[in-house]
C-alpha cells in the first residue's frame, strides 16, 4: 500500500493476530493463542501463565516481578516469556479494536 493511502487498520490488525498464532517462536502456538484470548476475558490458562496473562489484561501496571519470573522460569528463556507477555498485550488491544470497529460499522450500517 502506498504511503499516501490511508491505513487499512482491519488488515493490519488481522495480520498482527495471525502473526501471534503463526510466528517463528519458542512457545507453542496454542499457548500464544490462549494468552491472546485470555487477556480478552477468554478461558483460563494453567498456572503460572494465568496470573500473568490475566493481570496484563486487567491492569498491567499491577504485574509483579514474581508473575513474570514464574513464567520465565517455566519457559526457560527471556524470549519465550516475552512471547507470552506480547501475546497477552496484543489480545487485550485487539479485543478493544474489534469492539470499537463493530460499533463503527453498526453506526455506518444503520439506516
Amino acid at each position: 500500500m502506498a504511503a499516501s493511502e490511508p491505513a487499512n487498520h482491519r488488515s493490519r490488525a488481522d495480520a498482527l493476530r495471525r502473526r501471534i498464532a503463526t510466528a517463528s517462536a519458542l512457545t507453542p502456538s496454542e499457548l500464544r493463542r490462549a494468552a491472546l484470548e485470555r487477556s480478552a476475558d477468554g478461558p483460563p490458562l494453567v498456572p503460572p501463565y494465568d496470573a500473568l496473562v490475566t493481570q496484563i489484561g486487567i491492569a498491567a501496571y499491577r504485574v509483579t516481578d514474581a508473575q513474570v519470573s514464574a513464567v520465565r522460569s517455566v519457559l526457560g528463556s527471556d524470549k519465550a516469556a516475552f512471547e507470552v507477555v506480547m501475546s497477552a498485550a496484543v489480545g487485550a488491544g485487539l479485543m478493544r479494536f474489534d469492539r470499537a470497529m463493530q460499533a463503527a460499522k453498526d453506526a455506518s450500517d444503520a439506516p
Binding site: 491505513a7 516475552f82 470499537a100
Partner: protein
C-alpha cells in the same frame, strides 16, 4: 526491565546499536526502543509497521492529536512511561498548555469538538470496551469526523492498549523529564518505523 536480555540486546549487532545510539543521543536508549530491537523474528514488522502507519501516516488527525490520544489511553491504563512519552511528543506539535489541559481534563479543555468526541470514545474503548455501541460511534461521526478518521482513532486506541500493557508488564524504566523531551524530538521526526 524485568527481562534482562531485552535491556542488554539479544544479538551482538543490537547490543552495539543500543550502545551507539545511547552514546550519540547522550541518554540511555529508552526501553520502548530496546523492545523494538528485541526478538524481531517473533512479530516481524506487524506491530511496528501498524504503529508507524497509524501514528505518522496520512490521517485527518494531526500528529499531535494522535499523540495526545495515545497519552490519554496511557493515562487511563495508568502507564506512567507512555503517559510521559506521548504527552511530551504531543507538546512538540500542539500548544503544550493545551496538551496539559487535555491531560488533566479533556472534556473541559479547549480542544476541538471532533477531538473531544474521539477521546470520549477512546476512554470507553479503553475502560469499558464491551459496552461500546453504535450510539458511541455516531456521537463521534456527528461532529464531522469521517469514518476513516474514526478508524484511525480506533487504531491509536488499540495500539496503545497493547503498548501500555507490555510497557508495564516488562517494567520500563522511567526517563527523566529532560530525557522524555529529548526523545520526543527524535520520535516526532522519525516516528516508529
Amino acid at each position: 526491565m524485568r527481562l534482562e536480555e531485552i535491556d542488554a540486546g539479544d544479538t551482538l549487532g543490537h547490543r552495539a546499536l543500543i550502545g551507539f545510539i545511547s552514546l550519540v543521543s547522550g541518554m540511555r536508549l529508552p526501553d520502548a526502543a530496546r523492545v523494538a530491537f528485541y526478538h524481531q523474528e517473533f512479530l516481524g514488522g506487524t506491530l511496528g509497521g501498524w504503529t508507524q502507519a497509524t501514528m505518522r501516516g496520512p490521517s485527518d488527525w494531526r500528529i499531535g492529536e494522535r499523540e495526545l490520544m495515545a497519552a490519554l489511553v496511557a493515562k487511563w491504563n495508568s502507564c506512567a512511561f507512555c503517559t510521559g512519552a506521548h504527552s511530551a511528543i504531543a507538546a512538540k506539535d500542539i500548544d503544550p498548555s493545551l496538551v496539559q489541559a487535555a491531560m488533566n481534563d479533556f472534556e473541559a479543555a479547549d480542544i476541538s469538538p471532533k477531538l473531544k468526541a474521539m477521546l470520549k470514545f477512546l476512554q470507553k474503548m479503553t475502560r469499558e470496551p464491551v459496552t461500546l455501541t453504535a450510539a458511541d460511534a455516531r456521537s463521534v461521526l456527528q461532529t464531522g469526523v469521517t469514518k476513516q478518521a474514526l478508524e484511525d482513532g480506533i487504531a491509536v486506541g488499540a495500539l496503545f492498549n497493547i503498548v501500555t500493557r507490555y510497557a508495564d508488564a516488562l517494567s520500563f524504566a522511567m526517563p527523566s523529564s529532560e530525557e522524555f523531551d529529548k526523545a520526543a524530538v527524535m520520535l516526532l521526526k522519525r516516528g516508529y518505523g
